[in-house]
Symmetry: C2
Subunit: 414 residues, 2 copies
């Protein structure tokens, strides 16, 4: 399933980060999260990646050094004692870290301490305090935004990986719909889809960056169960199997004439996809059909807007207006107080990447960004209808990466 | 799949935590992690749980308040603006938080600021700094150890949930072994097992506490691929599907006469199980059979030691000695520099709970603790053999929760 990117891919990613950190006055970035380390090295072993603003990067690995050596596109060093990590950095980058705390010298002025950006949005606090002790030679600062921004524009290699995942999801959806029948539980439908995804190389998990956020291959849910609100930071929740797993599929049997939400993703070679289709055994009510049509109209409008220079929050505002014009404001992207405040989200190694089509995201879109757009309408006690495609921004507009046919998937006989 | 615990279960858990925090001088605990919140409330929505050393707890929920209200065994309050969280706590617990920062009063002395324990081993640093700003009325301190310790002794309800998961794993293993055949890829075997686990109610993910640690329903791997080292904090890694998923099953076909490691778990109603069996199509070499026998001997010895009062690090030390006596020191629990330094681990809502059978764990075992014991031997280029059972400590010894038969699972025809 794994395909190696072109050799220069990894170097170019680091060069881009180096450009960005220099403009923010950072002397380097220390990446601690596995996904971030993979993005810059091609390896996901336990350790820390140091990317200086100039010079070569070093991947300090605790375990497995052997595996890192075989995979990494960055120089690997065995991480010695954690307490001496600062001294190890100082020895490897004397010009950067050496000036500050050498014994006998005058106390360094604040400005001579190198400012090192790191991923404080995910790094546990305990690790942060241990790092500040182990590396007194530097001042750590939050570079989460910069690190997320650096990954928001995808390379052709990355886009090809996402397309591979999109193909797997389309095939799994076909198998799921073929086996769908009245009385089948949500969980059975989900398990059928997951089995198919695995056979196409789904790694068995999908990564999310948000604290406490989890995803179980998406949400497969029908009727009132699909409309149950939950903590998951998306427009649909689902009843789930337990209060300890309060989202996605439940043991509820799927009935006739109720909306079946099939919001699924998978992760192939590290890259995730996100796609939603609405299905029914029998027919949906005119009200639900109309809501579904509105969702398709919103996504058509978004497709026209998605291009370099467009402002994410404006695309979201347009969608809100269209939902309002359809009289569906309180059903849009969840119901009432459980609504989420976005229309779509960046996607790549994680399912909650930047940019988000939401208020506050004002940086213009750029070619290469990949965004899942998911207009959905929730009707408590009744169900959820909607659609979701993942797009890449091109030089002139956008192109869908998801390939499943659109429209309501209607099954007359079961 | 969900079974409600006895009503007093939740209250007793909080009472125990209150006892423990008082002995450590804490005025309360603020639990931010989803698993911790579930453990004390029966609900896993987005928010924060405050457990004061005395008085009733409050579950401050951002989303979904409706869901939390329907599930929680603790009083639910809607979390207002995050910036005002301190004022909200102050209004709800005036005696605890009110004395310190009222305007116009003299600056409070340090000792009058309540010390609030929290889960800094998992809480992202960014959230920590936001909390310290939002709640200047308190001093946050690391109570990770206390929170992990509080959960290490399981109730009968919890043990019953783990047994349910053990039953599912045993049935999935049977199905996997039945369908096992020469030329089947590791991934196909894993997918077959996962499909079965899902039909028994596996929630679709297994939770780990460690930063950057992930688990894909365990490790199913054969021959040299099973012996490949990786970052996963366990004795077995596996090749995996990609450097972006560097553990567990790969696309390698399973051959004759090579060890097949089937180290699988699942999560039912929030609780996880962990079990390993060794299989082969054909026969293992005498060397591998002998290593497997040593693993069984180590687990037999551990069963004799596992009882209230036993010291975890001594059980680990004994296992090391047995491995050494068998001439297998460098193969035990991984190979060479990629060895892990433990024999077993606590298990419950997370797969990496306390206690760990490892150096430094000196607190005596207590009845109700649940521990997975996993002696394994790695032979680079050849494979991994071993066994893993999960046990509960009883009043007089231990009882296995895993139910699959032991011994090498040998399939002569495929």
């Amino acid at each position: 399933m794994h395909i190696e990117p072109p050799r220069e891919e990894w170097l170019n990613r680091r060069l881009k980060l180096q450009q960005m950190m220099k403009s923010q006055g950072l002397s380097g970035c220390l990446v601690t999260q596995n996904v971030g380390i993979y993005y810059y090295t091609g390896s996901m072993q336990t350790g820390y990646l140091f990317v200086p603003a100039v010079e070569e990067s070093t991947y300090y690995v605790r375990r497995s050094v052997a595996r890192a050596l075989s995979e990494s596109n960055v120089k690997v060093a065995e991480l010695g004692s954690f307490r001496n990590f600062g001294r190890q950095l100082e020895a490897d980058y004397p010009e950067l870290f050496g000036a500050t705390v050498s014994e006998g010298s005058l106390p360094s002025s604040f400005s001579s301490v190198p400012l090192i950006g790191t991923d404080l949005d995910v790094m546990p606090t305990q690790l942060y305090f241990r790092l500040t002790e182990a590396v007194p030679q530097a001042k750590l600062t939050d570079a989460s935004g910069l690190l997320r921004q650096a990954r928001s524009v995808k390379t052709p290699y990355e886009i090809a990986r996402i397309e591979r995942a999109a193909e797997a999801v389309a095939q799994a959806l076909d198998v799921g719909c073929e086996r769908l029948h009245e009385g089948m539980t949500e969980l059975e439908l989900m398990a059928t889809i997951e089995r198919e995804l695995r056979s196409h190389g789904h790694i068995g998990l999908m990564r999310m960056r948000g604290y406490n956020q989890e995803i179980m291959t998406g949400v497969v849910a029908a009727g009132d169960a699909a409309a149950e609100p939950t903590y998951f930071d998306g427009p649909t929740g689902g009843r789930g199997l337990s209060p300890a797993a309060p989202q996605s599929a439940s043991l509820r049997p799927i009935g006739r004439n109720e909306p079946i939400l099939i919001d699924i993703g998978c992760c192939i070679d590290g890259y995730v996809i996100d796609q939603t289709r609405t299905a029914v055994i029998g027919e949906l009510s005119p009200e639900l059909r109309a809501a579904y049509e509105t969702a398709e109209a919103i996504i058509r409008r978004a497709e026209q807007e998605l291009k370099p220079g467009a402002i994410p929050e404006q695309i979201y505002a347009e969608a809100l207006m269209m939902a309002e014009a359809a009289g569906l404001s309180s059903n849009f992207m969840g119901y009432g107080r459980d609504q989420v405040k976005f229309l779509g989200h960046g996607i790549g190694l994680e399912i909650d990447e930047w940019p988000v089509l939401a208020k506050g995201f004002r940086d213009p879109l750029e070619a290469g960004m990949t965004i899942a757009v998911e207009p959905k309408f929730t009707f408590p006690g009744v169900g959820v209808v909607g659609i979701e495609n993942t797009y890449v921004i091109t030089e002139t507009g956008c192109r869908a990466l998801t390939v499943s046919p659109e429209g309501i998937y209607s099954k007359q006989h079961s």
